[in-house]
């Protein structure tokens, strides 16, 4: 098979995959009696047509950056971390415990501590599957799926039996103290000129952007990053070069779990301001789509997270204002994962003849 040029590999293949997913979604919308053009208009208008829409889009983007980076780091070590959802839920528990522990004097202190708590709990939830993979050879995909369910059950237990304040009916923690309240985009000097006080996007967006840089630096500018990538490319070669598989798997998965956990500073601390059931709302799974779409590069993850933030917010608006159910988002998300992750070769095969033609013409 002819090799595609790098730009086609990086840009064209994901773009065509997205296009295929969009076309199928449009056909589905037509089939259920909706109007695809109206759907797109509502989505664009609702997600990026106003500062209010942007406030939601960037809020979702923040979560997806964290979970996308989590999948990316694990991917480079040759591990498929499906457990982002569970790790994000546990990260939420970490955030809640930190925020409820002290009457925080200032949000910046609380944010640093909560980020550490979130990362710690997320990493801890990834640690057991990682250790089982590294030491016992248990397949990490299955163990992380299992840990998603165990995590969900554990959070329910913690909320119902431990964190729920006396006299409250719904399974949720107490509200976080005032000092742990993160400023949203409407409260940040400069941004408040554009955004109103009601948007959920908050300072953790900047933490997410910083995390992109940190992951890039880690993977391509440090010894550990080199070891991770070498191990992911060829386990036997890495082993021969003296790289410890146990160390690489453990560290990559701990970082991955930590990143997934850190999304909780956005949704739990920045938005709901208390821990509720199923707080991450599938963002951990969207991380898989984001990482695949972003070609497992932090910059690509940022762009893909923005795209999924748009789809998520736009999809919600579409569910509100058109007859098309909000579940179209799930369908689209699944199709994007299918085309970018599993039918990758098919998309490439479709493109190869064009490049052959182009080369022949020169």
């Amino acid at each position: 098979m002819t090799k595609l040029p790098t730009w086609a590999d990086l840009v064209l293949v994901p773009f065509i995959s997205l296009l295929l997913a969009a076309v199928i979604s449009a056909i589905v919308i037509l089939a259920i009696g909706g109007d695809p053009i109206e759907a797109v208009t509502v989505m664009v208008d609702g997600a990026i047509g106003s500062p209010y829409g942007w406030g939601y889009t960037l809020y979702y983007t923040t979560s997806f950056i964290f979970t996308g980076l989590a999948v990316t780091v694990a991917y480079h070590a040759g591990q498929f971390n499906i457990g982002g959802e569970g790790q994000a839920q546990l990260g939420g528990l970490g955030v809640a415990l930190v925020c409820l522990a002290l009457p925080w004097p200032h949000w910046s202190l609380a944010l640093v501590a909560a980020t550490a708590g979130a990362a710690l709990f997320g990493a801890a939830w990834a640690a057991i599957p990682a250790w089982l993979q590294a030491k016992r050879g248990s397949h990490i995909v299955i163990t992380t799926i299992m840990f998603n369910y165990i995590g969900a059950a554990f959070i329910v237990y913690m909320l119902v039996e431990v964190l729920r304040p006396v006299g409250q009916m719904d399974p949720a923690s107490a509200r976080f103290p005032e000092g742990a309240k993160l400023p949203n985009f409407g409260q940040i000097p400069g941004l408040d000129l554009i955004f109103s006080n009601k948007v959920p996007a908050n300072v953790s967006f900047f933490a997410a952007v910083a995390a992109c840089f940190a992951v890039w630096a880690l993977l391509w500018r440090t010894k550990l990053g080199y070891e991770i990538r070498a191990f992911g490319k060829s386990e036997s070669a890495a082993r021969y070069a003296g790289i410890s598989p146990v160390k690489v798997i453990m560290l990559a998965m701990l970082i991955s779990g930590g990143l997934a956990g850190m999304m909780a500073i956005n949704n739990v601390m920045g938005e709901s301001e208390r821990l509720v059931q199923n707080a991450s709302e599938g963002a951990g799974f969207i991380g898989i789509a984001v990482a695949l779409m972003g070609r497992n590069h932090p910059f690509g993850v940022f762009l893909a997270a923005l795209l999924f933030g748009f789809l998520y917010q736009g999809g919600a608006e579409m569910g509100l204002w058109t007859t098309i159910p909000i579940e179209l988002r799930l369908l689209l998300q699944g199709l994007v994962i299918l085309f970018t992750g599993a039918l990758d070769t098919m998309v490439r095969m479709m493109l190869v003849p064009f490049f052959r033609l182009a080369r022949g013409a020169v």
Partner: protein, 322 residues
């Protein structure tokens, strides 16, 4: 726990274990042929929706079953295309199809029935009704065995018995036929099968289609027998529990029966917190029971209780040398 309660719990164990058993055997064919299938959940969900919808529209549970199998087969075919023909990542394909199923089932049922993604409740012939086995009433007065026969063995829908019959059938197919030998070989060492002049692609597609049929029955059972109609996300992770049971069973049919019935028992008992409290004299949080199948699977995976060794060529696309 008195005997009557035990009988009740065992009866619901069988009812709740059946979809797990069908999905587990489904996964067994696929994984024994070297194709990982995380998409059991999605296939079951699609089948449940299709069978619920068709049964509601036609009033026939049999047509519902057929529709469920067809819906599940379509997903199996896509999975086959992605993982066999285009040699894509089988895990990612499964995950993707699960999302597609979550979205598509609600979209379709909402469009057809406008009931918030549910299908209308099924009654009469639109459901597989419980069958009373011969002699159940006559034997009911026999102490111990009578109620056991009447409530645990008899009194389930046809699909439960089909699921149970699938266990020896699968065993026979895998270990006593030429097809079974080849199927197992293609999951362990596809090169040898290819060298013997048997099509790896053909065998793997057959296995994936068998998975589709069994997942279809599992989904149809959910919507037309266990419950009366389809509800959104009604499979509730059963595909993953089945996957767990498959590992627990070390990819063997009889063990699969044991594992799925164990997990079915855990589900049945989780519905009866009063029984647990009365038996153990302490309160066990329901969430702990919910998590138990998954915790058991992790322990098995860790290899502390008997090592689970998957088929050797699992997850690797086969590339014929040229």
């Amino acid at each position: 726990m008195d005997y009557a309660t035990l009988i009740e719990v065992l009866g619901s164990t069988l009812r709740l274990g059946t979809p797990l058993l069908l999905a587990c055997l489904a996964g067994l064919y696929s994984e024994r042929a070297g194709i990982f299938d995380i998409g059991l959940e999605g296939k079951m969900l699609m089948a449940a929706m299709a069978s619920g919808a068709v049964a509601a529209m036609t009033g026939s549970a049999w047509l519902g079953l057929g529709a469920g199998i067809v819906a599940s087969l379509i997903f199996a075919l896509i999975h086959g295309l992605a993982s066999i023909t285009f040699r894509g990542n089988q895990l990612i394909s499964g995950v993707a199809l699960n999302f597609v199923a979550s979205g598509a089932t609600v979209l379709i049922s909402q469009t057809l029935f406008h009931q918030g993604g549910r299908t209308p409740p099924l009654t009469g012939d639109a459901r597989f009704q419980a069958i009373t086995l011969p002699g159940a009433e006559a034997l009911a007065s026999v102490p111990y065995f009578g109620p056991f026969y009447a409530k645990v063995i008899s009194g389930h829908s046809l699909l439960v018995y089909i699921a149970l019959a699938a266990v020896p059938l699968t065993w026979w197919l895998l270990y006593r036929t030429r097809f079974g030998l080849r199927l197992r070989a293609v999951g362990e060492n596809p090169e040898s099968v290819d060298t013997a002049g048997v099509s790896v692609i053909g065998l793997r597609y057959t296995a994936v289609m068998l998975t589709g049929v069994l997942c279809g029955i599992a989904g149809a059972y959910m919507a037309t027998s266990l419950q009366a109609g389809f509800g959104r996300e009604m499979t509730a992770g059963r595909g993953y529990i089945a996957l767990a049971a498959l590992i627990f069973a070390k990819w063997r049919p009889w063990y699969a029966l044991g594992a799925t019935m164990l997990f079915g028992f855990l589900q049945a008992i989780a519905l009866r917190p009063d029984v647990i409290e009365g038996t153990l004299h302490m309160k066990i949080p329901v969430s702990a029971l919910d998590a138990l199948p998954y915790i058991l699977t992790v322990i098995v995976l860790a290899g502390f209780v008997g090592r689970a060794i998957p088929p050797r060529a699992g997850g690797q696309p086969y590339v014929k040398e040229r």
